[in-house]
């Protein structure tokens, strides 16, 4: 859910290959979409690789592979 605490780290700033659990989302609109795809608070996310030509990233959430833009990855906070 959307929380106001500032602990945690934006997914977009995580290193390639690192993992972490979703803490919360910073944007309600993005949150709705991410939730409906199955990315919930507590979901384990791994940053698999960066996109060619920069910008986005390829993540693994549980057993789901998802492509995100940078702005989308920024709205996810990892604890």
């Amino acid at each position: 859910m959307v929380a106001t605490t500032n602990t945690g780290k934006q997914l977009a700033k995580m290193k390639i290959g690192s993992k972490g659990h979703v803490s919360h989302f910073t944007d309600n609109c993005m949150a709705c979409k991410l939730l409906s795809m199955g990315i919930l608070p507590g979901t384990l996310i791994e940053v698999v690789r960066a996109a060619p030509f920069g910008g986005g990233c390829y993540i693994k959430a549980d057993n789901l592979l998802i492509a995100l833009r940078k702005s989308e990855a920024c709205s996810i906070v990892i604890r």
Binding site: K33, G38, V48, F53, G54, G56, K60, L65, A67, L68
Partner: protein, 713 residues
Amino acid sequence: MKPALSPDPEPKIALIGNPNCGKTSIFNQLTGLQQKVGNFPGVTVDKKTGTLELPGGTRAMLIDLPGAYSFYPTSKDEKLVVQSLVQPGNENYPDAIVYIADVTKLEKHLLLFSQLKDLGIPVLLALNMADVAEQEGLEYDLEKLGRKLGAPTLLVSGRTGEGLGQLKQMMVDLLAQIPTVNVPLDSTQYRLAPEEAKLITQIQGEFPGYTPYQLVLLAHHIKWLPFLTPAQKIVIEQAINNTGFQDLQLQVYETMQRYDQFTPIVQQARDRDSAQSASFTERLDDLLTNRFLGPVVFFGLMLMIFHALFTWAELPMNFIEDTFGGLNTFLQTNLPKHWLTDLLTEGIVTGLSGVVVFVPQIAILFFLISLLEEVGYMARAAFMFDRIMQFFGLNGRSVVALISGGACAIPAIMSTRTISNWKERLITILVTPFISCSARIPVYTVLIGFVVPPTKVGYVSLQALAFMGLYLLGIAAALLAALVFKLILRTNETSYLMLELPEYRLPVMRNVWLTVWEKVKTFTFEAGRIILIISMVLWLMSSFGPPGAIKQAEEMARHSAQLKNLDETATQDLIDAQVMEASFAGQLGKFIEPAIRPLGFDWKIGIALITSFAAREVFVATMATIYSIGHQDDEYSIREKMAKQRDPITKELIYSPATSLSLLLFYVFAMQCMSTIAVVKRETKSWKWPLIQFAFMTGLAYLSSWLAYMWLS
């Protein structure tokens, strides 16, 4: 037990599920060649339906709704699902729902199922990918799962066909169930928030027959649901203000509540989890989506597709041309000499040949593109090129449209529906027709030889390079036009990529063949009909003229031939040319000649340009019709006939490099396809965009042809 008689003679069953759940495979398994692709009224989403014979003799109509993640849509496809399901009495409102979920991702795929449960429509849960689950050792207690989720549950496989017999049997039972209308407020799958409960009690009087959750959805989607009357909107708006109903917050609340409800059920019913290891997909993606190698592989694949398009199609195309040529010779020698025979051979058979000859190329292109889609590669392409596409004001998903545009702009434009941002979608629609579609291939093939000699540089033929150059020119035009539109158009809608990358799977060939079959059928019967009619009209127009004009032209030609002392063949050529000029077609061509003279086109090319507006491929058929009148022997291909054409007065070659290049450029850029214009009008819901598109594409074509002709002549 026979199912209860529904008021509808054919009960409707909707297939619903998340994107990538394998719904299409199951739909194809159940309906095969019995399926029809139509349109949902008012919107332009493809509506796939098929008739299904159920055990016991009942027939049902199966509707394949687009894939959706939840009832909170962002794309046009997803909106349609909501629209069909929130309004009891809607013409797509199903009598029963078959929900398809990927069994290997059950926890992610049950959100929409949980929402569907609250509609009161009888629903069953089909767990797809049974074959994959078995391989991975994944097992569920189906009885327990079904009991706790409150829906009959079974395992199926769209790939192997496993469980489909049982599915049909269960559909019969499902249709016998009566939809629940009066759902008490406390029996929804999640606990309603106080605002939601209050809102429901305030508006339910206005909407008899709606379930509580449907009323909540009306409030969430009040802005775009098309069927709400102004009076109904006022009632809902008042209730929203009275209760403090917060759209986004309540969406998040509801979604979380639903996950909390079904996640433990799924976990408890799972007998054995799949063995987790770095999957085949992830290892393959190490290469295919690699920052550096990924794009290289992509361009390699595209190159292979074009190579296949030309090399594989050559043999069948030659065979088709030879067969029709042979048929024509046979008819001409065996039928009495009469203008009806000429209409049959020079109008109908020549026109038919012009249709059928493209079937191999279209089939091969759609085969390869749907193969890439089916194995899951297209989503990777969208991911890799999203950043670049964004630079041009497009979306990563636009890559799929642009590539499909290489086959035909019409399905490509329809595939943009998955782009949720209107501006990105509109730009994709506007620039896609610049990509050289398969209809331009024959025009390029015929004309390129007049510009570039058939020599080789190393292993590569110059003509092949020129061919690629024309394609690149189209791509460059598309991207530059996109950039211009990006700067002109304004929007404040959010744009998303957020794309699921499905596991790589071996393609289900049934799906691929069905796509190829459907596209070839559409081309042959829809485009083919137009081409055939135009060929016949053209033949009639070029054989007949105003009363007396043809006879007069013939006599004039004979007279001047005698004066010049021409031999028999030359006399006949002169007669044919003058007769053609005097005919209706000639006069029409003459009428537009002043406008196209600066581009180096004569009135015969003018006729071809006019008829090409029906469809570009008509160009070749037009040339065939026009020039087969000039020469009686059908052994020559159209190209060879055109190469011999000379101006009757100056004796210069008509298809000089300058004119041919100018004509090629015209075909690269110009919007010459009625069907595309119709589709763009349908997709953008106005005449404004197709007209703008027609103007800038044709304007660019005229300008570049004019410059090229000036430069070369």
